[in-house]
């Protein structure tokens, strides 16, 4: 219930710290940057929430655009939490829950949820195809190996996602890590379902996953997507899903540091790293990916001004990758991000999330910047 | 209208930059102040700079002398503050290129020639012309001040002791004259007086612009002195001193002229006369304009006072070159054209003296003495401050 967050809402100082990152003083809110009005920043969303619980307005479809353009990237939280001690994200999340309960969600979100409901994936593809990415690669299905390698919807269905999934799998093998996959048995992790506010469906998938993992007596999980990592790590325990979860970048970083994984050098190149929100801000993993890059001979790591806890979201979070409420256009975060990357002088953007990969890849094309910069997943550096 | 006297100064008058420094600089130890400016008693035309402006206008024929202008001109006390503050000094003469006091006297001479003299001044001049003194008192009374003293009439002594109008007729002046004379005699100075044969020195007559009368007085005095065989003169009054020293020679005078403080200074320089006093009396000294700025005699009076045990001389902020005029100069002692009631120069100066914490205000000029006595009454300060002439102080010190 939104009213449960009354005090959080009332504690908003209206100071606008959520608009701009401290220390570097750059705009940080993807939806805010795109739409400008305060209503698209945390400060405005909380004002709206307050107006609702104060009974001045009702939560109705008119508000949906302001709510669902949020990519749940957590930048506002990062500022506000440390400055004033308020967590706007929780309030926005709650607004989404209520929107779903009241059946107010906008069509884009409804379609996304419908697909998840019907197909179990946003691509409206049959579940049997889930394993396809691994065809003609000898990757074992999970049978008591040490780890489960969980690829999720994108890794399973999205063309680029599949590439990344494969290259990660290769890397893991190269590192001599024993793992297996679930193939077509795999179920969506539901992270984004939750973020668009469909608690029930999320719980359904979550429990489904937990039961599956348990009956296959899975203890340790490696995820391809930071989103899945986030779901398993932070939400599943609530339903009794206690697994040792790691993102592949963490595993590979370890493997490299204890010499399990040999890294061959590449031609000298400047690389900048884009922190995925759900690996970085939401789970505070900033170093593992950078360790990997630093370990690669020939790679010169250059940072963008907005990096680590101040990283600018690619715009694909909070379900936006599928619903695209945020919309495209020159002011879309991914395109701004690409330019920021180019300004560092880097020739390659490295990332470690299939969503970010996708968003930025599109942005590069949209900006016709292919000849200036390309995007690579971490794992692709290792092959 | 007649402007010949002013015209003689034409060149310099038009050199004035009009910076206004001549008005004096407020509240500065090292700076004199024009009494008119300081007391805000006149419009710009009554300040030194304004007087130059007016002079320029007259010479340009834009304006004429007039009675009100005369009144403005006679407000000047000829204290020469402006002449010391002006920076444009002629390296040759050491005098300012634009000499305002000179300009004022010149204008006044024109005023007289154009017979635009304001009543108070006219009365003053008339009195001197008719009675030989501003007090309209008979010539026979001139000697009265010396009655009952052993002060001899001049008959070949070393010095002629010249007392002047104020010393002869004014009560305060007479007191001072007696004290100076008796003191000098007591100290073995051989001097005599002219008594009823004395004539006005005419200093202030000259300053108010009646040059003819001044010349007459000067020439009569000179012949009287010569006939009596006078060679050296001690004057009681700095005004007389100024006239004898600076303005008589042009009529063939060649006397040695002293102010009595110079003589005293000389005598007691190494005397053992004084009885040491226990209690320390604070006292301050006011420089008369005609002794100080006009003739540069700042030290003799101070030497004397410093010599006297039991006295502590405290200087006022504005002293010596920057001493603030008592308002009695330039004929104002008799004409009081400057006026000013509570704000009059003598009262301002008195308060300044009081601020030093002194109990005695020492003077060396009968006019100053009178001006301050009046001020004391006006301010009801009889209890707090005594006006004493230097000779009076010395007398007491000797008697112990």
């Amino acid at each position: 219930m939104l009213t449960d967050y009354r005090s959080t809402i009332y504690h908003c100082l209206k100071c606008g710290a959520c608009k701009q990152a401290f220390d570097i003083y750059m705009p940080i809110c993807p939806s805010g940057m795109k739409y400008g009005f305060d209503s698209h920043y945390a400060i405005g969303r909380i004002s709206l929430a307050r107006a609702i619980i104060d009974g001045e307005i009702n939560l109705d479809t008119a508000l949906m655009h302001r709510v669902y353009t949020c990519t749940h990237c957590g930048a506002c939280d990062e500022q506000c939490h440390n400055a004033v001690g308020v967590d706007p994200l929780r309030v926005i999340q709650e607004l989404k829950y209520e929107a779903v309960d009241k059946g107010l969600i906008p069509p884009e979100v409804r379609d996304y949820l419908k697909n998840m409901n019907v197909y179990g994936n946003p691509y409206m593809l049959p579940a049997e195809d889930r394993g396809k990415w691994a065809l003609n690669l000898d990757i074992k299905s999970f049978a008591n190996q040490e780890y489960l390698f969980y690829v999720g919807d994108m890794g399973s269905y999205d063309a680029l996602g599949q590439q990344i999934a494969r290259s990660v799998a290769k890397a893991l093998e190269a590192a001599g890590i024993s793992f297996g996959i679930l193939g077509d048995k795999e179920v969506t992790d539901g992270n984004d379902i939750n973020l668009v506010g469909e608690k029930g469906l999320y719980e359904y998938f979550a429990t489904a996953n937990i039961n599956l993992f348990k009956e296959l007596s899975i203890k340790k999980i490696i995820t391809l997507s930071p989103h899945a990592y986030n779901a398993f790590k932070n939400d599943y325990p609530a339903w009794g899903g206690d697994f040792e979860v790691q993102h592949y970048s963490q595993i590979l970083a370890q493997a490299i540091s204890n010499k399990k994984l040999k890294v061959k050098g590449i031609e000298k190149v400047k690389v900048t790293f884009h922190d995925p929100c759900f690996l970085g801000r939401h789970n505070k993993e900033y170093d593992a990916p950078r360790q990997i890059l630093k370990a690669i001979p020939g790679v010169e790591l250059v940072e963008m001004e907005r990096s680590r806890n101040n990283a600018l979201c690619c715009g694909g979070g909070g379900g936006n990758f599928f619903t695209d409420m945020l919309g495209s256009g020159t002011k879309s975060p991914s395109r701004i991000r690409v330019h920021e990357a180019i300004d560092t002088g880097a020739k390659i953007i490295a990332t470690t999330c299939p969503k970010c990969f996708n968003m930025l890849d599109d942005a590069i094309k949209a900006e016709n910047a292919e000849d200036q910069i390309t995007i690579k997943d971490l794992s692709q550096f290792l092959l | 209208m007649e402007t010949k006297h002013l015209n003689e100064l034409r060149e310099n008058i038009f050199k004035c930059m009009g910076c206004g420094i001549c008005r004096g600089v407020w509240e500065r130890k090292d700076e004199a102040m024009c009494p008119v400016w300081a007391t805000c008693l006149g419009f710009e035309d009554s300040t030194p700079r304004g007087r130059v402006t007016v002079a320029q206008d007259i010479l340009d024929g834009v304006i004429d002398y007039s009675m009100p202008l005369a009144e403005s001109l006679y407000r000047c006390t000829d204290c020469a503050c402006c002449a010391t503050t002006c920076d444009a000094m002629d390296p040759a003469t050491g005098k300012p290129i634009v000499d305002v006091p000179k300009i004022v006297v010149a204008s006044r001479m024109d005023i007289v020639e154009n017979s635009l003299v304001p009543p108070p001044v006219r009365n003053y001049l008339k009195a001197v012309y008719v009675n030989g003194n501003p007090y309209k008192l008979p010539q026979e009374d001139r000697g009265k001040w010396a009655k009952g003293t052993e002060i001899p009439v001049f008959s070949g002594q070393d010095y002629l002791f010249y007392v002047g109008d104020v010393g002869s007729y004014d009560e305060r002046g007479q007191k001072m004259a007696r004290s100076v004379a008796t003191l000098l005699i007591r100290l073995g100075v051989s001097l005599g007086i002219l008594g009823n044969n004395e004539l006005s020195d005419g200093n202030d007559v000259r300053v108010v612009g009646e040059f003819g009368l001044f010349q007459h007085l000067a020439e009569s005095n000179i012949s009287t002195f010569k006939d009596a065989g006078v060679r050296k003169i001690i004057s009681l009054d700095p005004h007389s001193y100024n006239a004898f020293k600076n303005h008589y020679p042009q009529f063939g005078a060649n006397f040695e002229v002293f102010h009595y403080t110079q003589i005293l200074d000389d005598i007691i320089r190494d005397s053992k006369l004084f009885k040491a006093k226990g209690n320390n009396i604070k006292l301050t000294y006011h420089d008369p304009c005609y002794l100080g700025r006009h003739n540069g005699l700042y030290e003799p009076p101070r030497n004397i006072l410093n010599k006297i045990p039991g006295l502590e001389l405290i200087e006022m902020d504005r002293n010596k070159k920057s001493a603030f005029c008592c308002g009695g100069g330039g004929g104002n002692f008799f004409t009081d054209m400057i006026g000013g009631e509570t704000n009059s120069p003598n009262r301002i100066r008195l308060r300044e003296a009081l601020d030093t914490g002194a109990h005695i205000l020492a003077v060396a000029c009968p006019l100053c003495a009178k001006m301050f006595e009046d001020a004391i009454k006006a301010e009801n300060l009889e209890a707090r401050l005594l006006i004493k002439d230097i000779s009076e102080i010395v007398q007491e010190a000797i008697q112990g």
């Binding site: - | 420094i21 509240e27 419009f43 035309d45």
Partner: protein, 479 residues
């Protein structure tokens, strides 16, 4: 207007009843005494307008009364302070034959509050009086340098844009920065007081700070040439008198070295100097005259070291303080000015003195010198001195000081200059975004001509709002 009609000036009796007979006059010689200002004949020639009546009010209230009278009869008022404007100041031009000249010399009271470090002075107070009174209490007030003995508080605050240049403007900016509040008689005769103190705050008898919390109305009346109101009282911050003033002179050689050092000094934080003045005679070497201000010997030494290091690094050599140099160094003191020029029967003037953006000062100076040679270079000039004085960090006062030979009278020089040079001089510094120093006097005509149309109309609206009957300094800035 005939002499007789002057004698019955329409307002004579009413004004007389306000201020008393001895403080009002219609005598021509008296009125004309107000038509001259120092160096007046420079650039202008002749005298200013003769007022119809001169009055010396003794209090703010009296002034308010007079202003009300003026409004009734629509007769313009020209306020006057110390009469020290070193140039033809607007009052000399303003208004008609009936002008009321308001001589403020009787407003000369000073009130110091050492506990709260403020001084309140009436507008007629001569600045040296203010400075000295404050100094005697162990404090220091920022007043102007050159005309300190001539100008009054009111005159400087009205006549100088920014309220006048303190002797250490190089580091402490204009007098305006230390002004807490003003008591002003508005052109309507209403008395107001600005600043965060009495007059804006019903609960406050003390001046606390400049900001009344609302708009800063004080600044509105500074440098207004007296057109927006008659200032009758001003309250300033005062500061503890520093125990040490350490003057020095450094020979900086040629342009390049001088500028390197100059630039570095001006950018140094904190300022090692309190005053800095850079000048050269003819094509001789540049000299720095610098004054260090400190509260302890150690501080003075530390500052001196920094200053010397910067000078030395750029080839500076300590110079002996010769008369010649001191004389030039004293060119900003009007007193020395007299000493230098009058006795030798010569005359001097500033050529193209202007506030220009610091970075382009030398560039401006070069062009100015060229202009000088081209226009009045053939006048008998026996000495010319280039000078550059920093004004905080962004601006300098730059110009040339000219000494004319015996032969040249001031009028001759100024008329030649007015004819051939002045116009092009203005074009030149305007090109550099500069203006003829902060003095309303020399630049009041130029001032208005430089305004953008919007600015002009803005000033007009202000003037109309404050002075519906155009009573105060009508025609100032020709708006």
């Amino acid at each position: 207007m005939t002499e007789s009609s002057r004698n019955n000036h329409p307002l004579y009796s009413e004004i007389r009843s306000i201020v008393g007979p001895e403080h009002v006059t219609v005598d021509e010689f008296s009125r004309r005494a107000y038509t001259r200002a120092p160096f007046f004949s420079m650039g202008a020639g002749g005298r200013g307008k003769t007022p119809g009546i001169a009055v010396r009010p003794g209090s703010t209230e009296e002034i308010a009364e007079i202003v009300k009278l003026a409004n009734k009869s629509r007769i313009p008022i020209v306020p006057r302070g110390g009469g020290g404007s070193v140039s033809p100041f607007p009052p000399l031009y303003i208004g008609g034959d009936d002008n009321i000249l308001l001589d403020t010399q009787r407003l000369n009271r000073i009130n110091i509050d050492t506990e709260h470090m403020t001084v309140t002075a009436e507008c007629g107070v001569i600045l040296s009086a203010l400075a000295e009174t404050v100094r005697k209490k162990g404090f220091q007030v920022h007043t102007v340098d050159v005309p300190i003995h001539m100008d009054s508080v009111g005159g400087v605050l009205s006549g100088f844009v920014g309220g006048g240049e303190p002797s250490d403007m190089a580091t402490s900016g204009t007098m305006n920065n230390y002004l807490l509040g003003l008591k002003v008689v508005l052109p309507t005769g209403e008395i107001i007081q600005t600043g965060g103190g009495p007059g804006t705050n019903i609960h406050q008898e003390k001046f606390l700070h400049r900001d009344a919390g609302g708009p800063d109305m004080t600044g509105m009346f500074i440098g207004d040439g007296g057109a927006f109101g008659i200032k009758t009282e001003a309250t300033f911050n005062i500061f503890p008198q520093p125990s040490i003033y350490l003057p020095g002179i450094t020979d900086m050689g040629g342009d390049e070295n001088m500028w390197k050092a100059f630039d570095e000094l001006v950018k140094t934080a904190p300022y090692p100097y309190t005053r800095l003045l850079s000048f050269r005679e003819g094509n001789g070497p540049w000299y720095f005259v610098h004054v260090i201000r400190a509260h302890s010997q150690e501080e003075a030494d530390a500052k001196k070291k920094i200053l010397q290091d910067i000078c030395r690094k750029n080839g500076g050599k300590a110079a002996t303080v010769g008369d010649q140099i001191m004389q030039i160094a004293g060119m900003f003191s009007a007193r020395r000015l007299g000493q230098q020029t009058l006795p030798v029967g010569s005359t001097m003037t500033y050529f193209g003195e202007a506030l220009v953006p610091k970075p382009r000062s030398l560039e401006y100076l070069k062009e100015l010198n060229a202009l000088l040679d081209e226009t009045v270079g053939d006048l008998d000039i026996y000495k010319r001195v280039d000078f550059v004085v920093p004004y905080l960090r962004a601006t300098t006062i730059t110009g040339i000081l000219l000494y004319f030979g015996k032969g040249t009278t001031r009028d001759e020089a100024s008329q030649r200059m007015a004819k051939t040079a002045v116009k092009r001089m203005e074009e030149l510094f305007t090109k550099y975004g500069g203006w003829t120093e902060t003095h309303q006097g020399t630049s009041f005509a130029h001032t208005a001509s430089a305004w953008s149309p919007t600015y002009k109309s803005f000033m007009q609206t202000i003037k109309k709002t404050l002075d519906p009957n155009d009573i105060l300094m009508p025609g100032l800035w020709r708006i």
